[in-house]
């Protein structure tokens, strides 16, 4: 996969995003591009603004400045619920919001924006509405089988182990057939095997479905292992971006993660791109 120097048109372009809450600046002038098919990771110490950035991309937060364009469209003009239709799906950091929903229903919920029937047609359940429901159920069954979730399909999410819930959440996001997938800490709280398993799924998604993925994650081993490019945030600012190896060696990044002293023992950062101010 080619990296930042590519001449491809970015699928997502973020320019000078600034977010403030009651005087506190959560994000300050953050800019970056994500190329089609890329597995792009956003990392940074606790409180660096990663989740705020995700919330801007899924239109939960409104930035005070900046632009976001997705496939050439101005993302900030869309409502939260229109984002899904525009082709962006997101997984959630916190699970447990839908404890009674069965896995199959959760996936069908993910397909909400791909379906049409309203109260009247759904209530009568005749013709088009019935066909639509059947087809979409079949689609979700296939997706569940692919992710090894088929035997859990009728179980409420709340009764499943954490790892299965995480996987079901990813399946739900995929069910929307997005072109951009936002993954909010997909392996947080998981053991090594589970993490590797999910990482493999992400690589599959990238290579076989060609879906662009943006990943916020704390598990550095995973990020550095599978991401094409990495953006590092610290105190709401983008302090570095580039391929994993270069970012790991960037003194700014080491300082942000470990504190001042560790920097001295680091070899010079080389040609790391460190855009300190957007």
């Amino acid at each position: 996969m080619s990296t930042s120097s590519s001449s491809q048109t970015p699928i997502l372009s973020v320019r000078g995003i600034t977010v403030r809450f009651a005087g506190l600046t959560a994000l300050s002038e953050v800019s970056f591009d994500v190329l089609p098919g890329e597995l792009f990771a956003i990392i940074g110490p606790n409180g660096a603004g990663k989740t705020s950035l995700f919330n801007v991309l899924s239109r939960v937060y409104r930035p005070v400045a900046g632009q976001v364009s997705f496939e050439g469209r101005d993302l900030l003009r869309l409502r939260t619920d229109q984002i899904a239709r525009a082709g962006i799906a997101r997984t959630f950091q916190n699970l447990g919001q839908f404890p009674h929903t069965t896995v199959l229903d959760y996936l069908l919920l993910g397909r909400h924006s791909r379906m049409k029937s309203g109260i009247f047609r759904g209530g009568l359940y005749l013709g088009a509405a019935a066909t639509e429901e059947r087809e979409n159920r079949a689609y979700c069954h296939r997706l569940l089988a692919l992710l090894g979730l088929d035997r859990f399909q009728d179980r409420p999410l709340g009764s499943l182990p954490f790892g299965v819930q995480k996987r079901a959440d990813l399946a739900r996001a995929l069910a929307a057939q997005p072109r951009l997938l936002l993954l909010d800490e997909p392996v947080a709280g998981m053991g090594l095997e589970e993490s590797q398993d999910l990482a493999a799924v992400m690589l599959d998604i990238r290579e076989q479905l060609g879906i662009t993925q943006i990943l916020v994650e704390h598990d550095m081993a995973m990020v550095m292992g599978i991401a094409d490019r990495v953006l590092v945030l610290d105190f709401g600012r983008a302090i570095a971006q580039g391929v994993p190896a270069k970012v790991q060696a960037n003194p700014e990044v080491i300082k942000a993660y470990l504190g001042e002293e560790f920097t001295e023992k680091t070899p010079a950062g080389g040609e790391v791109r460190a855009d300190t101010n957007g």
Partner: protein
């Protein structure tokens, strides 16, 4: 002009009763995020007990009041301990309904004890006593209700501001886990909130029962407490000064509309909905009331 002053005075007195009722709601809500729909029935139970103590057991007003406050507070604390504590973390709808269940039980209990007759209003002064200045009637009990409300507010202020448990209540209302980290027992704070709320309900109830000189009250007393809802919404569910301001405002709106609606184009009983209309208007402009705080929902 005389009518206007008379109405403002009556509105203020009624508003003070509402303020007390609203305070009862707010104290519980602030401590535990529970809206107590049974608050009206706490009023009824408290007033009924005071009435029985005064007129059946022939006790004086103050000993009777103490018994009434004791009984209502005890019911509140028991309900919190036995039922509500197991409902922590449940959806608000269910919590509201559990308090409605209590409301039904308390109301039925009083109905069974009261039977067909109406108990006498237990007030410190004779229901008709008072004085008039320039044609405006100042009822003794109306004045008492204003004075008592002021005293209750002052007492509550001193309690919350200067005592150890008052501080614990304020801290718990802001951040429960942080309060627990200080060694504050949340269960004690809840029990305190329900106890205080029951006590205030009794005081509000006896003045509301006497109303505009009613010698007796019936079992619908609890329902008239529903008007406190617009009051707390107006003031913001979680604001104690808001409850007082909201209560007085609703009392004034209620009495003034009632005084001027007769023969008007607004039709009968407009005063019953005027508080709600004002409330809806406020909510349209400020969805969290005049003094309330906004909560942020998270993903």
């Amino acid at each position: 002009m005389t009518t206007f002053i008379q109405l403002v005075f009556s509105g203020l007195a009624l508003g003070c009763d509402y303020a007390l009722i609203a305070l009862g709601f707010t104290i519980i809500f602030k401590a535990s995020e529970v809206i107590n729909f049974a608050q009206g029935e706490f009023l009824l139970v408290g007033t009924f007990v005071v009435s029985v103590a005064m007129f059946t057991w022939r006790l004086g007003f103050f000993p009777a009041l103490v018994i009434g406050i004791g009984v209502t507070s005890l019911i509140g604390v028991l309900f919190e301990r036995v039922v509500l504590r197991r409902m922590i973390g449940r959806p608000p709808f269910n919590i509201i309904m559990v308090t409605i269940g209590l409301d039904v039980l308390l109301l039925t209990g009083v109905i069974i004890l009261v039977g067909g007759r109406n108990p006498s209003s237990p007030v410190p002064f004779d229901t008709l006593s008072g004085f008039s200045i320039g044609g405006v009637e100042f009822g003794a009990n109306a004045i008492a209700s204003i004075v008592v409300t002021a005293l209750v507010c002052l007492g509550l202020y001193i309690f919350l501001r200067y005592t150890r448990y008052g501080l614990a209540m304020r801290a718990t209302a802001i951040d429960q886990e942080a309060a627990r980290a200080m060694g504050i027992k949340i269960s004690t704070v809840y029990a305190l909130a329900w106890g205080i709320s029951g006590a205030i309900a009794t005081i509000g109830g006896i003045f509301l029962a006497a109303g505009a000189g009613n010698p007796s009250f019936d079992v619908t007393l609890g329902q008239s407490a529903l008007v406190a809802f617009p009051a707390i919404i107006l003031g913001g569910l979680d604001s104690i000064p808001g409850a007082v301001v909201g209560g007085i405002a609703i009392g004034l709106i209620y009495v003034l509309t009632q005084g001027y609606e007769s023969g008007g184009f607004l039709g009968a009983n407009f005063h019953l909905i005027a508080p709600y209309l004002v409330m809806i208007l406020v909510l349209m402009i400020r969805p969290h009331g005049l003094f309330g705080t906004r909560k942020v929902e998270r993903v």
